[in-house]
């Protein structure tokens, strides 16, 4: 099975302010307009089919109606030097639906349905009407097994490579820098845990990951830059700002 890094999710209180700041920090460009239900993203292509989605809730009424406590809100609500930005996700990619189904089966869940054509508003969509068709796993229909803490990466399959968020043109602005791909990532927990989750003998043989033993989740991403030194995008992982994880029900992303 070929597993790769697919994308990263950077949770932000304000995706506009966060994206502007990330651009100034790294020189990387981004594009705007993608959303699903109550969430919107500004996308930062990083080269070689990988991207960062700077993601936030953009519907205040919907937020008020959401069940509380809300894990992501509570994590982002903790102040830090990045206006509350936290890494909220590492997402891995596989190259076929069969591989995705094998992951789901191994981990005791299932695969999200491919219903982007019949339920377009349950999927990320863009102003031009393009609807992202992808599937992910594992989707736990019951409680999340305790041995797998939040923060472990989901697996994704994107059939349409040219349409990927990583392959869309960014908005022009001065002093943009070309990203040349992810060099390494820093992850919490242990290699043993991530390797077992990924179903591989050694995770760092499959993706360029090093471990810091802290809360499970993404902590840093190092990206190459054309004609410049690499940049390390460091943010706390969401779990690091959650006082008591036991109070949060593992509610999957709402879909209509």
């Amino acid at each position: 099975m070929a597993i790769s890094i697919n994308h990263f999710s950077l949770g932000a209180r304000n995706i506009y302010e966060s994206a502007d700041r990330l651009n100034k920090e790294t020189g990387f460009g981004f594009w705007t307009g993608e959303w699903v239900q109550t969430t919107a993203c500004h996308m930062f292509p990083l080269g070689k089919d990988v991207f960062i989605e700077v993601e936030g809730t953009i519907d205040a009424h919907a937020y008020l109606a959401m069940p509380k406590p809300n894990y992501t809100y509570d994590a982002l609500d903790v102040d830090n030097e990045y206006n509350g930005d936290h890494w909220t996700g590492l997402m891995l990619g596989v190259e076929s639906l069969e591989e995705l189904e094998a992951v789901a089966k191994r981990l005791g869940g299932d695969v999200s349905p491919d219903d982007s054509k019949v339920n377009p508003y349950s999927h990320f969509r863009r102003p031009d009407g393009y609807t992202m068709g992808y599937q992910s796993a594992p989707r736990f229909t019951g409680p999340r097994p305790e041995k797998w803490p939040r923060g472990l990466p989901s697996f994704y399959y994107y059939p349409d490579v040219p349409g990927r968020s990583s392959n869309q043109p960014v908005i022009a602005r001065p002093h943009l820098v070309t990203a040349t791909g992810v060099k390494w990532i820093e992850f919490g927990g242990t290699e043993a845990l991530l390797s077992e989750w990924m179903g591989v003998p050694k995770a760092s043989d499959v993706i360029p990951v090093k471990f810091n033993g802290k809360e499970v989740g993404l902590w840093a991403v190092c990206v190459g830059r054309d004609g410049m030194d690499d940049v390390v995008i460091r943010r706390p992982t969401a779990a690091a700002s959650i006082k008591d994880p036991s109070i949060y029900k593992d509610v999957p992303r709402p879909r209509s």
Partner: protein, 232 residues
């Protein structure tokens, strides 16, 4: 009110390579301006900040134009082996001002509005002067002309977004224009003090020779090309 700089015309043999190379060498971005009403001339726009821009034009359909109908700036660019500065265009706010300028030069406002079709953005429409029967464009003899955009400044070419390119600078306006001829000659043509347009004069044949564009990180970028009347 005194006229201000609107845009500078760059005649080219190949609008694509000219725009690409200009952005590469200066860091100033461009976008696809579409085509002129004749459909044989392609256009790229280079916003310069300060409500000014460069427009680069060349023939893009050579089979539609017989050699005797090729625009003069295209022929000159081919002969020069490079782009040329083929025109300097000033701007006034009202059609009344444009009409007064036209009359001062013994002509009228252009009988028809100029139009350009953009591939993606708003359509472009403008009026120019002076139009004098039997005379060609002032640009061809190295003299500026004037434009009025009426109430269409909201979609002025200088304010449109460029394509994304790594390493773009932020252009902050034209700091100076190097012109042929003398200040006295230009003052007479313009009907205003050339210093108000930051013009400097090299005493050579008429036309534009160089511009200096202020940028945020590269200082003032000089863009030099043969003028419209320069012997090649």
């Amino acid at each position: 009110m005194a006229a201000v700089l609107d845009h500078i015309h760059m005649g080219s043999a190949n609008v694509y390579t000219s725009a690409y190379n200009l952005t590469k060498t200066t860091g100033i971005g461009h976008y696809d301006g579409g085509f002129m009403s004749s459909v044989t001339i392609g256009h790229k726009a280079v916003p310069l900040g300060g409500r000014g821009y460069i427009e680069i034009e060349s023939i893009i359909d050579p089979f539609a134009v017989s050699p005797d109908k090729e625009p003069w700036f295209y022929k000159k660019a081919v002969k020069a082996g490079s782009e040329i500065w083929s025109g300097l265009c000033l701007r006034v706010d009202t059609m009344e001002e444009l009409d007064a300028i036209a009359k001062r030069h013994g002509g009228t406002i252009s009988p028809k509005a100029g139009r350009r079709t953009r591939p993606d953005g708003p359509g472009v429409k403008f009026w120019s002067a002076p139009s004098v029967p039997g005379q060609g464009s002032p640009w061809e003899v190295g003299k500026p002309n004037w434009y009025c955009w009426e109430d269409r400044m909201y979609c002025h070419p200088s304010g449109q977004p460029t394509i994304n390119t790594p390493g773009l600078v932020n252009p902050m306006g034209v700091e100076w224009l190097e012109m042929g001829g003398t200040e006295a000659e230009m003052a007479d043509w313009l009907g205003q003090d050339p210093k108000t347009l930051n013009m400097r004069f090299n005493g050579k044949s008429l036309g534009l020779y160089a511009i200096g564009v202020k940028t945020d990180t590269k200082g003032t970028v000089e863009i030099r090309r043969p003028s419209a009347t320069q012997d090649l």
